[in-house]
Each structure stands twice: as structure tokens, then as C-alpha cells.
């Protein structure tokens, strides 16, 4: 080989070694999420920007997102973990955390994700409930990314026509009276005072559940068997059934899912509806009436002294316990849950903020965003999570069936709740 040839070969070898060295130094973290950063919805754009920013600040870490169907992530992640093929990070919603927690496949994030967080970072949250719910035996097993809850949405114009004010619905009794007043017959059909879903759809958080938690914070025993055949439970179940029997809510609610119910509100057939906070913006956008007439009410309570409890839900990031890249995955999870990302999730992604620093942003001062402040205030005042190690979605279904039974006259509240307990006992065994 000539001198020139040897030089070229040496240069090629050096280049290959350098490239290989860089490749070896770069760690790829795989993440399953229902968001696809290649797409263009507001939240997907936020995720894309967060990944770009994180990779810029951490050149040795690359984030690869494998988009999944939202309700399958927890199942697939838990199964994949048992075969040691799970991704490093998975987005899992609170009711589904029961799967990775029960299977013990979630890593403790205290050191990897939250090790560098100081007191100021922790004090920034309007409620500690999202962290309390994912902390087990001192281990933080998931990082809250987005929070949501159900809330009451109402029609300001219908309230004005019926002479009802938001102050009238501070209690459950007040809500029933107001809903009856707001129920009206017309040539086009009935406009119902209150709409809420009662089908066996685990995604539909029961109205009765809010009423129970308001009086009895402990819902499950240590084995995740519901303890509900109590005076508090009976009162709440009867309250929910009264909306049907006293014709403040359509009987069709017994078969409606949350989507069905919200579509009727959008179509102008309900004065008040139970809706997810993540849906407020889209409900306003799709309403067949003036969108400025949509308002948000705090949850009623039994005494009216403070709002009823907001049962929180939302999306978390879980790091796989068996991942060889826990440190890198934890760093990205901390970034996604940090104050900078939280501002993006709210301002660009339309999510309700749960950090004080985000609430104070000038972008949220517009009157159109008043509902976000209203909900954040409610979360700060009275918010809770059902225990994620218990099967809450199944309990929601059973509670809806209990309300169905009472509303149809098939059972007394006590008998209906005893059946819920029996179902829960069978499930826990």
C-alpha cells in the first residue's frame, strides 16, 4: 500500500473509532406514551419540544418515543416488565397504576428523578396529593405529569333564565333543587338540569363517589376491599339516585358513558354536566351555543362550607425497575415534571396547572382562562386521590351499578352497597 493509501486507511480507522466512541457514549431511553411527538396536537408539540430541549442539554441521552394506545399502556408495560422487555419509561394514568405497583415493577424515583429537587420545587405544588398517591413506604414510584379531575360545567345563560346562581349549588341538596328548576320541556325535547354518566364504564367517575369521600375519606381497607355500606355511603348513593327519581337527570343516564353525557351538554341539552377538566376547552370549542356561556362550578359538599373533594386523576411517568438506564430515564422524567415543562404543558398544551409558578404566569391572566384558576383553587382547597394500589376503576363501575339499582328501585342503598363490597371482596381475593 502506498503512503497515501496508508494515510487514508488510518484516517478512516480513526473516524470509525471516534464515531463508535460517540455512539457508545450515547444512551437511548425508550418511552411509551399515548402522545406521539411526530404528530401535531398541542400536547404532542409540547412533548416534541421537551425532548428536543432535553437532548440539547444532555447530548449523551437520546429519547425514543414509541406511541401506544392510552388504555393499553399499563397492561403492556406490566406484561413486558415480566418478560424483561419493558421500555425505560411508561406514561400511566393514575387508575392504572394498580398494575405496575401490584407487580412491583416501578422504580423508586427519589434519587434518580427527584434527588436534586429542593424545598422550593416541592412547595411550588398547589396540592401534595399527586405525590402522596404515588409514594409507597417512602418510595416515589411515579412522577405526576398532568393532573385532571372531574368538575361541574354549567350554562351561565340557563342559570340566569331560571334564576339560579352558582352560590345555590354549593351543597348537594342545593344542586338537586337547582337541577330540578333548570329541567325544562320544549318542543325539541327535554333539557335536563344535570347530566352525569351512570353506565358501567370504569372511566366514568361516579358522582356518588365524590359524595362519599366528602364524608368518609377512607374508602378501602388494607386489602383493597371497599368499605362503603356505611351511613356516608348510603347517603351519597341515595343522593345520586334522587337526581334520576326526581327527574332532574334523564333516566337514560343509567346507560350513558361520560362521552355520551358530555355530548348532550355540547348539544345544549343539559344545564349542568359532569366533565373532565381536560375536556373544558374542547367542550367550549364544540358547543352549539355561545362558548363564553360555559362556566365551571366547584364541587358541592354536604355542608357547603368548602368545596367538595376533587378526586384527582391524571398522567404519570413510571420508570421500569429493571431498566439498565434508570438514571437517564429518571433525569428525563424529572425534566418532564419540572416547572419549566409544567408551564409548557399549560400554556401550549392547555392542561390545568397544578404549580403555583404556572398559575402566576401572565399568559393565564386572560378572562378566558379563569376556569383554570377556579379548578386549581378547588384542587388546592380539597383534593384527594383514591389509593392507586387498589382497583379504583372497577369500584367506579360497581358504584354506578349501585346507583342504578337504587334509582330503579331494585335495592335499598344499604343492599346495593353491600353488593359493591361483595364484588370488591371477590376481586381482592
Amino acid at each position: 500500500m502506498s503512503y497515501k493509501g496508508r494515510m487514508i486507511a488510518a484516517a478512516a480507522l480513526a473516524a470509525a473509532l471516534v464515531t463508535a466512541g460517540q455512539a457508545a457514549a450515547q444512551t437511548t431511553v425508550t418511552m411509551w406514551s399515548f402522545l406521539d411527538p411526530a404528530k401535531n396536537t398541542p400536547r404532542e408539540r409540547v412533548l416534541r419540544e421537551l425532548i428536543e430541549e432535553f437532548e440539547k442539554r444532555n447530548p449523551t441521552i437520546k429519547i425514543r418515543v414509541e406511541p401506544q394506545v392510552w388504555h393499553q399502556i399499563a397492561n403492556k408495560f406490566t406484561i413486558a416488565a415480566s418478560t424483561r422487555t419493558a421500555p425505560d419509561i411508561a406514561w400511566i394514568n393514575y387508575p392504572s397504576l394498580v398494575l405496575p405497583f401490584s407487580a412491583d415493577v416501578a422504580a423508586d424515583l427519589r434519587q434518580t428523578a427527584f434527588g436534586s429537587w429542593g424545598a422550593a420545587e416541592w412547595d411550588d405544588y398547589v396540592t401534595k396529593a399527586p405525590f402522596d398517591a404515588v409514594t409507597q413506604n417512602g418510595r416515589i414510584l411515579a412522577a405526576p405529569i398532568m393532573l385532571l379531575s372531574n368538575t361541574l360545567l354549567y350554562r351561565k345563560d340557563m342559570f340566569a333564565s331560571a334564576g339560579v346562581t352558582p352560590n345555590d349549588v354549593r351543597t348537594w341538596d342545593g344542586l338537586l333543587v337547582a337541577a330540578k328548576k333548570l329541567t325544562a320541556q320544549s318542543a325539541g325535547g327535554t333539557t335536563w338540569g344535570l347530566g352525569f354518566p351512570l353506565s358501567r364504564d370504569g372511566a366514568s367517575q361516579p358522582l356518588a363517589f365524590v359524595g362519599i369521600v366528602d364524608q368518609q375519606p377512607r374508602i378501602f381497607d388494607d386489602k383493597c376491599v371497599p368499605v362503603l355500606a356505611t351511613p356516608a355511603g348510603e347517603k351519597a348513593i341515595q343522593m345520586a339516585a334522587n337526581f334520576i327519581t326526581e327527574r332532574a337527570t334523564s333516566r337514560e343516564a343509567l346507560a350513558q358513558t361520560s362521552d355520551d353525557s358530555q355530548e348532550l351538554f355540547i348539544g345544549g341539552r343539559q344545564a349542568i354536566t359532569v366533565g373532565g377538566t381536560s375536556r373544558v376547552a374542547s367542550i367550549q370549542e364544540r358547543a352549539v351555543f355561545d362558548r363564553s356561556q360555559v362556566g365551571v362550578l366547584p364541587w358541592p359538599s354536604w355542608t357547603g362550607e368548602k368545596p367538595g373533594p376533587y378526586i384527582l386523576d391524571g398522567w404519570t411517568s413510571v420508570v421500569w425497575k429493571g431498566s439498565p438506564r434508570q438514571r437517564e430515564a429518571g433525569a428525563f422524567v424529572a425534566f418532564m415534571a419540572g416547572a419549566e415543562a409544567a408551564a409548557k404543558w399549560t400554556v401550549q398544551g392547555g392542561q390545568v396547572p397544578f404549580r403555583k409558578s404556572v398559575l402566576a404566569l401572565p399568559e393565564l391572566a386572560a378572562p378566558a382562562n379563569a376556569w383554570m384558576h377556579e379548578i386549581a383553587k378547588g384542587w388546592g382547597a380539597n383534593a384527594t386521590f383514591p389509593p392507586p394500589q387498589c382497583n379504583v376503576a372497577a369500584l367506579y363501575s360497581d358504584l354506578n351499578v349501585a346507583v342504578q339499582k337504587v334509582a330503579r328501585g331494585d335495592a335499598t342503598p344499604n343492599a346495593a352497597l353491600k353488593a359493591v363490597e361483595a364484588e370488591g371482596r371477590e376481586r381482592a381475593n
Binding site: V98, A103, A255
Partner: protein, 301 residues
């Protein structure tokens, strides 16, 4: 292939022929093994173990079977399945048979009507059920228009257990009558017309021809149709999941829906698999019963 035929002609051994036939069906057998027998074996294994939250636990013997067979919710689902499956089977078969007889002739109108009848069958079950849910919901206005003149405008089809079950059966008949029609139509077309001509010459009435010619000669297509429909109605999930969600108060929760909920809402895959095997055995018994009922006992004279 050609070489094989040549060898056969030359008197190749029976063993060679069998080996060749086996090679031909091997790919199909492999697929069947991978996608039917392996999942069945895994399911059977799970049914004898505690499988919670997708984690396989200890061996529990027949505990899962005992648990599901003594569960009031499961027993309720068996009763619901019996009403739904037999109600749907009888009505679908009768409507399908009537359509097949009515549209047997190959006229322009009959061909057009066959296509019309097939529309619900070619729509996906999910879309068809969603469509029906919308049509029958109280707020669509359709039930009010129909029931209003009878003075029962404020009626929810899905909140009443009897009407919810009726809606479910209607959904099944609306969709699957077309399947029954096709199967029975194929059977009708296979009956030689000369037999009818001869019967007519002998003075047989239309009813007599139907009873003594059509029905006996349709035994096999009828058996296939009934078995296929019965299995479909016992095991189908989409109708119930989409149209009624098993409600109100679980009055339309069939055993398939209960199994789904045990597995994917309660995350009790051991029990869900045990229930699946119980249903599998019931399916086998019903097929045997139907085959026995349709066993040819009388030769056509």
C-alpha cells in the same frame, strides 16, 4: 405436483402419499398450532393458577373454577346469555330463512334486495352497534316519535332491562339475519329443481313440498347455520359492550362480557380463563346436541 401424480400412477406407496399430504397441510397446521393450540394451552395453564395483574402466581387447582361457578355475577351472566343467545338464534334463523325463501329466485328485484339485506352484515359490528345505540337513545328522538303517540314518550330503551335486552336481540337479528340468509340460500340453490317439478306433478301442495322436500334437504345447511349462529351469539362481545355495556344493573351482561371484565377490569386472568374453559365446554356440548338433533334419521323417499 406433476411428479407426484406420476408416482401415484406408478403405484407409489400409501406412506409417500400421506407424507406429501401432510406437507401440504403443514403450514395451516402450524398456524393453527401457534394461534389456537398454544393460546389454549396457556389459557388452561392460567386457569389453574392465580394470575393477578398479569403476574402468574401459585398453582390453585380448581379454585378458579369453583370461584366462577359459585359467583352470583357469573350465574347471572349465564342466565342472560341463555336469553340473548336463544332469543337471537331463533329470531335470526327464522328471519334469515324467510328471506332466503323469499329471495331465492334470481329476479332483478330479488338480487337487489339480497344486496340490501347484506348491508348490516358488511358494516363492522362495532359501527353497526354504535349506530343502533344512537338511533335508540332517548335523545335521538326516534323512540319518542314511535312511542309518543302511544303516550309513553318519556321512555329510555336502555334504562329498562327488558327493552335493553330486546335492543340487544334486535341488533343481533338486524346484523346476522343476512348471514343466515346466505347460508340457507346456498342450501336452497343446491336442491335439484326436478324434485319440485316431480312433486308438483304428483299433486303435492306448497306446504307439503316445503315440509317433505325443502326441510329434509336443507338439514346440513340448517345445522351449519345454527351451529355458527349459536357459537357467535354465545361468544360475541361487541353487541353488549357497545350497545348496552351490560346494563342496566347487569341485566344484559352476558358471559362473554363477564369474562372480559374479569380479565381486563378485575385483572383476574386466572378466573377469566377458568370461565372461558367452562364456556368452551358448554359450546362443545351444545354443538354435540345440535348435531344429534339434526342426525339424519329418515331417508328422503
Amino acid at each position: 405436483m406433476r411428479a407426484w401424480f406420476q408416482r401415484r400412477r406408478k403405484g407409489a406407496s400409501r406412506a409417500d402419499a400421506d407424507a406429501f399430504a401432510l406437507r401440504l397441510v403443514a403450514p395451516a397446521l402450524l398456524i393453527e398450532f401457534l394461534f389456537v393450540f398454544v393460546p389454549l394451552a396457556v389459557g388452561l395453564y392460567y386457569s389453574f393458577h392465580s394470575v393477578r395483574f398479569f403476574q402468574v402466581g401459585r398453582f390453585v387447582g380448581f379454585d378458579n373454577y369453583l370461584s366462577v361457578l359459585t359467583s352470583p355475577a357469573v350465574l347471572n351472566s349465564f342466565a342472560v346469555t341463555a336469553v340473548f343467545a336463544f332469543g337471537s338464534l331463533i329470531l335470526t334463523f327464522v328471519v334469515g330463512f324467510a328471506l332466503a325463501l323469499h329471495l331465492e329466485r334470481d329476479g332483478r328485484v330479488a338480487v337487489f334486495m339480497r344486496a340490501v339485506v347484506l348491508v348490516p352484515y358488511v358494516i363492522s359490528m362495532l359501527v353497526g352497534s354504535l349506530l343502533l345505540k344512537w338511533v335508540l337513545s332517548q335523545d335521538s328522538g326516534v323512540p319518542q316519535t314511535v312511542l309518543g303517540p302511544l303516550g309513553i314518550a318519556d321512555f329510555s330503551v336502555f334504562a329498562d332491562s327488558s327493552s335493553a335486552m330486546a335492543a340487544l336481540i334486535y341488533n343481533a337479528v338486524w346484523r346476522d339475519a343476512a348471514f343466515a340468509m346466505i347460508m340457507l340460500l346456498a342450501g336452497l340453490k343446491s336442491i335439484p329443481l326436478e324434485l319440485y317439478a316431480a312433486a308438483r306433478v304428483d299433486g303435492a301442495s306448497p306446504w307439503y313440498r316445503f315440509r317433505r322436500l325443502t326441510l329434509p334437504l336443507l338439514k346440513t345447511p340448517m345445522l351449519i347455520t345454527l351451529v355458527r349462529l349459536l357459537m357467535h351469539f354465545v361468544n360475541s362481545l361487541t353487541f353488549q359492550l357497545i350497545l348496552t355495556g351490560g346494563g342496566p344493573v347487569n341485566k344484559t351482561e352476558t358471559v362473554a362480557l363477564r369474562t372480559f371484565r374479569l380479565g381486563f377490569e378485575d385483572y383476574a386472568l386466572g378466573r377469566a380463563n377458568a370461565l372461558s374453559f367452562v364456556v368452551f365446554l358448554i359450546n362443545v356440548c351444545m354443538i354435540v346436541l345440535l348435531v344429534k338433533l339434526f342426525k339424519p334419521t329418515e331417508k328422503l323417499r
